[in-house]
């Protein structure tokens, strides 16, 4: 699976970073960075939670 972020929507709320810190990082410059674009299958539940809890619904998963 592949992590896709719509950076036009993303407002760097950083909730994804708290749920999956190995995949998402909001740095000191306030921008979101994807640390792992193709996480392994065992990261799916955290990734799905990040998708659901993003207030801007900016994250999606491509299979």
């Amino acid at each position: 699976m592949r992590v896709v972020v719509d950076f036009d929507l993303c407002e760097s709320n950083a909730i994804c970073m708290q749920i999956a810190p190995d995949i998402f990082e909001v740095r000191d410059d306030d921008f979101l960075y994807i640390l792992d674009e193709t996480p392994s299958e065992d990261r799916r539940s955290n990734l799905e939670e990040s998708v659901q809890r993003c207030p801007k619904q900016a994250i999606s998963i491509e299979e």
Binding site: E11, N13, I15, M17, Q18, D30, Q52, P55
Partner: protein
């Protein structure tokens, strides 16, 4: 196993409940009932980007027709529930009796109004899409003088949006410092300055006496005798949980419908979102939240509770979190702060336009406030989930500061 689940309330908590039931494999019927004309939509932009005129209402949708088909749920708008009978497991929808096996109460909250203002044109609250559309239209007609009654988060966001559009706006707030009942005085003053620096006028420490005008609003008279001229008044004085339809149901209502620590209200009945007051195990007291993240998470938790036995049920005990966007600032708070807590700015300073501050009492970290500091907010939120002490929080602040 239940064969039909009715969800009353088609906003975020209700939608997330429906989605969770399906993703957990529930195969029975799901009815999602909303009392508005619009199908479920996202509310946070209503006081921000949507109000500023950047968004279409389609963009707010929480439930597209494809999604409704995929989830195989029955969605009904303009459907008002009443007369819940928990013994016979029935309720009335627009006066017609309907049965259910299990029920999810997600009727949310409504904006509190100023008394005797219903008939005055130009006096609004902001909660629904229709409210936001009306205010947006008024913002664009002529050059209205706007008074916002109540300097809470909604009031501050509306004032910021109006100001961004070049509209003259005044906030009237009964406390001496807006938001000080949530953020404390020091942080509240930072938000006040953000507004005054951007041209918003603040009138604090004074109550509204009367809204002037017969058919059309003309002004706001304050108790100190000041008369503020107004073409448009937006009232942001809090919200009231929508529990009236449950009044004769026998369920316990105390500023929200009361749930146990797992979101269960009664056998086969759960509640979620702004309407739900539940026993939060982590805080050892019952709380009710009006936050986006809580509606989403509690909707899911409550729905799953219906599919679980008592032994399987988990307590719902999140660290609350919300955000507010005002001008170029993202304000985020995680935890529960109190004006009596110790407050310390631990990274940067308010003068820099971004900082991180923490709240503590009795040796514990209670909350974190970030202004344009989302990374730190989430880091301190994690500390709270691990029940960090005040000292541990200060040590962590030194590491990142």
């Amino acid at each position: 196993m239940h064969s039909s689940i009715t969800i009353v309330g088609a906003s975020l908590a209700g939608v997330r409940a429906a989605e969770a039931l399906r993703s957990e494999g529930f195969k029975g019927n799901i009815k999602l009932l909303g009392d508005e004309a619009h199908i479920a939509y996202d509310r946070p932009p209503l006081s921000k980007s949507f109000l500023e005129g950047e968004m279409t209402s389609e963009k707010l949708s929480l439930l597209t027709s494809e999604k409704i088909n995929e989830l195989e749920i029955e969605v009904r708008t303009d459907s008002k529930a009443s007369n819940l009978d928990i013994e016979s497991r029935t309720l009335e929808v627009n006066g017609e009796v309907e049965e259910f096996d299990a029920l999810i109460i997600a009727t949310g909250a409504r904006a509190r109004k100023l008394p005797n203002t219903d008939k005055i044109n130009g006096v609004h609250t902001l909660r629904s899409l229709d409210d936001s559309i009306k205010i947006r239209k008024s913002f664009k007609s002529g050059n209205p003088k706007v008074v916002v009654v109540g300097g809470g988060f909604i009031g501050c966001e509306v004032a910021a949006t109006a100001s961004n559009l070049g509209i003259e706006v005044t906030i009237v707030e009964s406390q001496d410092v807006p938001l000080s009942h949530v953020l404390g005085e020091e942080a509240g003053k930072v938000i006040s300055e953000l507004h005054t620096n951007n041209g918003v006028r603040l009138k604090c420490g004074v109550e509204v006496q009367e809204i002037k005008g017969d058919s059309q609003v003309e002004g706001v008279l304050l108790e100190d005798g000041t008369l503020l001229e107004a073409d448009l008044v937006i009232v942001g004085i809090g919200a009231v949980p929508n529990t009236e339809w449950l009044e004769n149901s026998g369920l316990t209502i105390e500023n929200g419908v009361c749930c146990d620590q797992t979101c269960l209200v009664a056998p086969n009945i759960v509640a979620a979102g702004d309407v739900a007051r539940w026993d939060h195990q982590g805080y050892g007291k019952s709380i009710r939240l009006e936050h986006w993240d809580n509606a989403a998470e509690q909707g899911k938790h409550a729905a799953l509770r219906l599919l679980q036995t008592e032994a399987e049920a988990l307590p719902y005990a999140p660290i609350p979190w919300f955000w507010s966007d005002q001008f170029d600032r993202k304000i985020q708070l995680a935890g529960i702060s109190s004006p009596e807590d110790d407050f310390e700015v631990v990274v940067d300073s308010p003068d820099e336009g971004r900082f991180t501050g923490i709240y503590g009492s009795e040796g514990k970290l209670r909350a974190v406030l970030g202004i344009n500091r989302p990374r730190h907010v989430m880091q301190f939120k994690s500390l709270m989930e691990n029940k960090a002490s005040w000292k541990e929080a200060l040590d962590f602040a030194k590491e990142i500061g």
